[in-house]
């Protein structure tokens, strides 16, 4: 995601990259393409820099290893493969339950703490956030209509829509109890 710090962007793709490498060795650009093909248009694809930085860190941590492959007409490419430690880390990720409710919601922090920053118009804050959610929803609706892709990409969009609906419902609850 474009607005993420490099570090956060890298953290998010660490384990998906390990999963893709579990099938076969690959180089950075192939991995980026594979991610996009799998998850479709709604997926905020990491940029190639984030992929390379992540692969370097995975290598530093001993989860992947790499070797340069000489190409006749083009620059060498670095091909990565999973190490046994990487395979263990991947298995642990797959087995473990994923994070549930978002108890660190950025907007909620903002809403609660905004008076400290001198902001008094909480209804305005809620309305702006609601408009933002609705315009994101509009974008997703458009994507859902044009999604010719796999059921994976359609489910990703539907999941995002359900999250947005929950966020909007929660916004109403905040409006009821905090204003």
């Amino acid at each position: 995601m474009a607005t993420d710090s490099p570090r956060e962007g890298c953290g998010i793709v660490r384990l998906p990259l390990l999963a893709l490498l579990a099938k076969e060795p690959a180089h950075g650009y192939e991995l980026k393409m594979l991610l996009e093909q799998t998850f479709g248009q709604a997926y905020p694809s990491p940029n190639i820099g984030q992929i390379y930085v992540t692969l370097q860190r995975l290598e530093r941590d001993g989860l992947v290893r790499s070797q340069d492959v000489v190409q006749a007409t083009r620059p060498n490419k670095r091909v990565y493969e999973l190490t046994p430690a990487g395979r263990d880390a991947l298995a642990a990720w797959v087995e473990a339950p994923s994070e549930g409710p978002r108890v660190r919601d950025d907007f909620f922090m903002k809403l609660v703490l905004s008076p400290l920053a001198g902001a008094t118009d909480r209804l305005g804050l809620i309305n702006r956030q609601r408009r933002h959610y609705l315009s994101v929803m509009r974008g997703l609706s458009g994507l859902a209509e044009s999604a010719e892709g796999s059921s994976v990409s359609r489910l990703l969009i539907e999941g995002a829509m359900l999250h947005l609906q929950a966020d909007l419902d929660w916004l109403e609850r905040c409006q009821q109890d905090l204003l």
């Binding site: 474009a2 709604a42 994070e99 209804l123 408009r131 959610y133 509009r138 974008g139 997703l140 995002a160």
Partner: protein
């Protein structure tokens, strides 16, 4: 003398000089619209029960061709608002103007007549007539608004084809899925070619794929110029609108145009793979 009489007669039909926004494109306008229910079931100010204000001074405008969504928590008054506008409930105070004509003061019969020509209604629970076929449900609406049998049948055929229901014309509504029933309800609402389509939670009782079908239809209708006022809790439905009004405690808390947004970047804030 004759000229005066004509002007006077015309004055009864066209918008009086005191009408809001004369000469602009407001299809529907409400001013200070208010609805008070009494807990003993009586209406308006006369009853003895405690007063509950469901709608409190709502100013609302829908222009020709516009798609407006009304959102808000349950109990915020959004369904009541739609019922007032559609003439299903009498207003306590305030004004409703439809195409430059004040309608809240019309007799029940006069408003019903106007409604049959100008307003289509879709409900959450479809409200189809269960002992009539799909075809008759759709044609009835056209016949009531003054179409001939032949016109009504033509219109029905065209609508059922468009909504993917051609094979269902002779079915009883109860034999259809929820999504199909709502499409029949939509066909019925459109049979009189209404100027304004009012929809009250039309996807509230549908699963995800039927919701998508109904929303696609609403979007297509609006694309062809159909004015729509949609009350919904479903953000996906609301996101199709040109403008979203948020109702809270019977009052308008927000009224904002929806701007198109580039999806992939926007999706990034909610679509995130965890690693």
């Amino acid at each position: 003398m004759i000229g005066q009489a004509v002007r006077r007669a015309a004055g009864r039909r066209i918008a009086p000089a005191s009408g809001p926004d004369r000469g602009d494109s407001a299809l529907l306008q409400t001013r200070g619209l208010t609805k008070v229910f009494r807990s003993d079931g009586t209406r308006g100010g006369g009853g003895r029960g405690a007063a509950v204000s469901a709608v409190r001074g709502v100013d609302l405008r829908v222009t020709l061709g516009e798609f407006v969504a009304v959102m808000g928590p349950s109990g915020s008054g959004k369904s009541t608002l739609l019922h007032l506008i559609g003439g299903l409930e009498p207003v306590t105070s305030g004004e409703i103007w439809l195409q430059g004509q004040r309608v809240d003061r019309l007799s029940q019969a006069a408003w019903a007549k106007l409604r049959r020509r100008h307003v289509g209604f879709v409900f959450q629970f479809f409200n189809l007539v269960s002992n009539m076929t799909v075809a008759d449900n759709v044609e009835l609406s056209a016949l009531l608004s003054g179409a001939t049998r032949r016109q009504a049948a033509q219109r029905r055929e065209q609508l059922l084809a468009e909504l993917g229901l051609t094979g269902k014309a002779n079915a009883a509504p109860a034999r259809l899925s929820g999504g199909e029933q709502q499409r029949v309800a939509l066909a019925r609402a459109l049979a009189n070619q209404p100027t304004l389509l009012l929809a009250d939670e039309p996807t509230g009782n549908l699963d995800s794929s039927n919701t998508a079908d109904v929303l696609r239809l609403l979007g297509r209708l609006n694309g062809r110029g159909q004015s729509i006022l949609l009350v919904t809790h479903d953000a996906r439905a609301a996101s199709l609108a040109d403008r979203v009004i948020h109702l809270f405690d019977g009052m308008v808390a927000d009224d904002a145009p929806l701007l198109p947004q580039q999806p992939p970047k926007a999706a990034g804030s909610v679509v995130r793979l965890r690693g």
